[in-house]
Amino acid sequence: MINKIIIIGGSAGSLSAVLQLVEKCPTDFEPPFVIVVHRGKNDQNVLLDLLASRSKRPVIEVEHYDHLENGNVYLAPTDYHLLVGTDHHLELDLSEKVLYSRPSIDVSFISFAKVFKENLIAVVLSGANEDGAKGAKEVIKHNGTVIVQDPNDADVDIMPLRTLKINPEITKIVPSNDILKTLTEASN
């Protein structure tokens, strides 16, 4: 039974924040992480290997119809959109890119917001486009929580800035060092 769940969206410049978050997260942290980041087609297993070597919790690159479980870290595979169903199965979707991106952070945020509503915590990290901003709006609409990496702390501030611009109600704006603390508080 999933009580809280955390979805993390990032693009250019988000790698260090993602790794830090995963590395610091304790073994007994219950809410699953779902990581949706843009990465090169030739990345192959680089990110997966990096995450697996840093994380204290199991890291799973999603396969079609995997079922979400507490305590795991899920990584959206390159070149598929990641969706979630009401019974918490994960779907991979090959329909066209959104904002030149697949996986699209917006698409995943919107899908998870509908299913997990107030139990969803979405994190928007560094990035060079506006993917994630619309999705964050949907998370808020469904009473979920949005945490944005402080634009001054982000390597590339476009994604955090854009998210804050269209969602002025967001108050949780923190540097990458404090993201785990903030989301731990939000998930209690």
């Binding site: 079609h64 119809y65 595979p77 598929y80 959109h81 779907e91 979707d93 329909s95 899908s111």
Partner: protein, 278 residues
Amino acid sequence: MTITSLSDTDLEQMISISKHIFDFDFSGYAPESLKRRMLRLIEKWGFSSIYEFQYAITNGELSRETLLNEITVNVTDMFRDPKVFYKITKVVFPYLESFPEFKVWHAGCSSGQEMYSLAILLKEHGLLKKTLQYGTDINTEVLKTAESGIYSISEMRKYSANYLSSGGQFSLSDYYTAKYQLAKMNSELKKKMVFSSHNLVKNPSFNEFQLIMCRNVLIYFDRDLQNKVLSLLIDSLAPYGYLVLGDKETISFYKNKEQLELVDKQYKIYRKKAIISD
């Protein structure tokens, strides 16, 4: 105002409309992905209600092919995921070589790029003459493209690098003739290709194959339907025949998974065990 989200009930209604009017049943399709595709169709057509969708279908404004095109058309490239092709030449080709002739099934072949890709590699390994390739899809429009073997020239240029990463030994441009903006695949490649409409969900097995390629087709389906389609594919494999799935598809929950041996985990290459007792 266009519909912006679909409830489970909306989706059920759309499935039922398609089933009754087109005799095409989307039940058992992965629901969230199907919702996304239906919604895209709704946006494109500007429907403000499910009734408008029904009306457009009933009045012939939205044809069966259009609906199928929107919902099922798959992304396909020449030598998509070149390493898979490379692996096939290393792992599967030696097995194919042992036959005087053999059959390959591309289940859900879409517009056929993968068939030509494989044909090129088979030719370079001296196996093309022994090959019979079957390409099937539920969508007859894409089959026409597959059969024509004509693609846009800009696409082909993009695929040159993929061809080389797949282990191609010459130049991709050796295998097509360019005319205006189009590239026509050499007729030699398609001499041993057969195309036909086939619905993996409804139609039975129609032959026995030494190799079945079915990549990124199972991701359209929920677990029950994946099970059903996997049964069909495995029933259609010759003893020790190979099955190649998409790299994010899995048989881990398949009811008879012991019928297959995992040959390559990363590229999802499976091999049928010799004798299967029920």
